[in-house]
């Protein structure tokens, strides 16, 4: 069993397709693992044992009957609880939606099911994806499998922790300001934010509609690429979905794994260093850049001066859109209702329900957004933030005129301690310093493990960024880097039964 949970998704799919092992055995091994360690990790909010085994049996039946199955058929996956899936609750980590059963599948969920991927359950997250530590979940924090006293990143801490704890070989996250990449970095796993519009948002509960993007999480670059091709592509149900071919990311990951980056121009963003960066993170990053150079890449320093303003612009745009999006939680059509005693008006019930159902960070952001959008302040706050967004896009365009990909540390620090930043919103926001520009520009970016920080022994992530719809460039570079340095996750967290 231990061997099954340590396998990559690609290995598992091959074994299932050749009937060396059954999809049911693979699903059961992961369900057993969840039973064994999730009490300590708390990556999952809901485990769908029956549904997972049923999906696995269907794949085994197909294989036995000689029917063609997809490249990831039978592989288990952990789904972030912000995407709807029938037969399971969708809570978004919020009390407001506790117990809500969505009446439809998200497009991502539908594509996973059609590919024969076995959904194990729903993963924990910061409430409505607002946070960088998963501490904002109404159902308690997820713990980092590398050190249970530390955060697994956020908002998708549950998805990344499930990979690092070997509870699942694949996961889906969503990334509005770094919620796939930052958890990936601090858990020693791979996380990819595709081009905005590359993966359908239909059935993804909206936080900040112009920034939200679902993407693949895995322990290897190839596994992420395989999952990417399953979930990406045009969807008429999402009007912001891009009607263009999916970039050839699997081919790029395989090409990159040969380890040759001759002729590839890699830009190092000079803004992502200095004050606020942990020395061990910067040393890991410098070693990664040296490794890329050794693989044949040409290294160029690139300045993107407006990136210094990405964080404030994001913390205006995202809350503004959130304040509007979360207005739908009005206690009338779904979710909990509080205080409806027959005497109160709809408005009073709405206010009492939202007060009881939302956590502190969600309330803060709704109020910031309400403020930033109000007349008299709109130009100074929201309007200015949108202008900064233009400047950031221009910086990316200029940079990608000179280089093929950009690199930076994914996060300024390694995983911080649970509770360390909960009383200081600004300190918490800084975890997204390096990841936000790609969201504002809509460009793809990913985090690949770059070893452990020499001062605390915790995982560090290398961020690789590419122009819109050029995901294959970053997958190639990340795969080459991964092949050269070896998998970080092989060093395994100190969880019972993991070694």
């Amino acid at each position: 069993m231990n061997e099954l949970i340590r396998s990559t998704a690609a290995e598992l799919a091959a074994k299932i397709a050749s009937r060396e092992v059954s999809a049911v055995e693979v699903a059961q091994a992961h369900l057993d693992r969840i039973g064994e360690v999730d009490g300590a990790v708390h990556a999952f909010l809901h485990v769908d044992t029956e549904g997972a085994l049923r999906a696995a049996r269907a794949v085994d039946d197909d294989v036995a009957a000689g029917r063609a199955v997809g490249p990831l058929a039978g592989v288990p996956l952990a789904l972030k609880d912000v995407l709807t899936a029938r037969g399971m609750p969708t809570t978004c980590g919020s009390k407001l939606l506790e117990g809500w059963q969505p009446p439809y599948d998200a497009t991502v969920t539908r594509r996973l099911r059609e590919a024969g991927i076995v959904i194990l359950g729903k993963t924990n997250m910061d409430e409505f994806a607002m946070g960088s530590s998963t501490e904002n979940s109404a159902f308690g924090p997820t713990r980092n499998p590398w050190d249970l006293d530390r955060i697994p990143g956020g908002s998708g801490g549950g998805s990344s922790a499930s990979l690092a704890a070997f509870e699942a070989p694949l996961a889906i996250g969503t990334d509005t300001g770094g919620s796939i990449r930052q958890p990936g970095a601090v858990t020693g796993t791979v996380g990819v934010k595709p081009t905005y519009g590359g993966v359908s948002r239909y059935g993804l509960v909206a936080f900040s509609s112009s920034l939200d993007q679902a993407g693949p999480c895995a322990r290897t670059v190839l596994d992420a690429a395989l999952l990417h091709e399953v979930i990406a592509g045009h969807d008429p149900l999402d009007s912001t979905s891009i009607d263009a071919p999916v970039p050839p990311v699997v081919a790029a990951a395989r090409e990159g794994a040969t380890g040759d980056l001759t002729g590839v121009r890699v830009g190092v963003v000079t803004q992502f260093s200095g004050d606020g960066y942990q020395p061990g993170v910067l040393r890991s990053f410098e070693a990664a850049v040296a490794q890329l150079k050794q693989l044949g890449a040409e290294i160029v320093e690139v300045s993107c001066p407006s990136f210094d303003y990405a964080l404030p612009a994001y913390y205006l745009i995202a809350p503004s859109e959130a304040s509007s999006n979360l207005a739908r939680f009005d206690s009338m059509r779904y979710g909990i209702r509080v205080g409806d005693d027959g005497t109160r008006s709809a408005e009073e019930v709405m206010s009492l329900t939202r007060e009881a159902g939302f956590g502190a960070e969600v309330k803060r952001r709704i109020m910031i957004g309400t403020y930033a959008l109000s007349s008299g302040y709109y130009d100074a706050y929201y309007g200015s933030a949108q202008k900064v967004r233009t400047l950031i896009t221009r910086d990316f365009e200029r940079a990608f005129g000179e280089v093929d990909v950009l690199v930076s540390p994914t996060t300024p620090t390694t995983a911080f301690r649970i509770g360390e930043r909960t009383d200081d919103p600004i300190a918490m926001y800084k975890a997204d310093l390096c990841t936000i520009p790609a969201n504002l520009a809509g460009t793809p970016a990913m985090s690949v493990p770059s070893g452990l920080s020499d001062e605390d022994g915790l995982p560090v992530g290398l961020q690789v960024m590419a122009p819109a719809l050029q995901e294959h460039r970053m997958y190639r570079v990340a795969a080459a880097y991964e092949a050269a340095r070896g998998q970080v996750i092989a060093d395994v967290p100190a969880l019972a039964g993991a070694r």
């Binding site: 912001t240 706050y381 202008k387 919103p425 809509g442 819109a468």
Partner: protein
């Protein structure tokens, strides 16, 4: 940038339909002030000549074919409702006594 007062936070909470407590008002007033001061730096580089970007990937007039396709039935649509009656969402009164 002007700092934000406790009364202004109470006003924002009313606009956002959040029945915040007095303790929360104290906490949020301080925090929102710090956050707003911090994000106001966008004004440093956002000059008049820069056009705003609302969306990273400009798409306009996205339509799909106007064809009949399956949708949620009444029962499914009401399945998650806090209260339902006669096949409809049951809601608290929305008009005042005098209305």
């Amino acid at each position: 940038m002007p700092s934000i007062s406790r009364d202004e936070v109470a006003h924002l909470a009313r606009l956002a339909r959040l029945a915040v407590t007095d303790d929360e008002l104290d906490l949020f007033a301080g925090q929102l002030d710090v956050i707003l001061q911090s994000v106001a730096t966008v004004g440093d580089i956002a000059t008049a000549d820069i056009p705003p970007t609302s969306h990273a990937v400009p798409l306009t007039n996205v339509f799909r074919e106007d064809v009949v396709r399956p949708s949620l039935g009444q029962q499914q649509a009401l399945a998650g409702a806090p209260a339902a009656e006669d096949g409809r969402f049951r809601v608290p009164r929305i008009l005042g006594e005098q209305a």
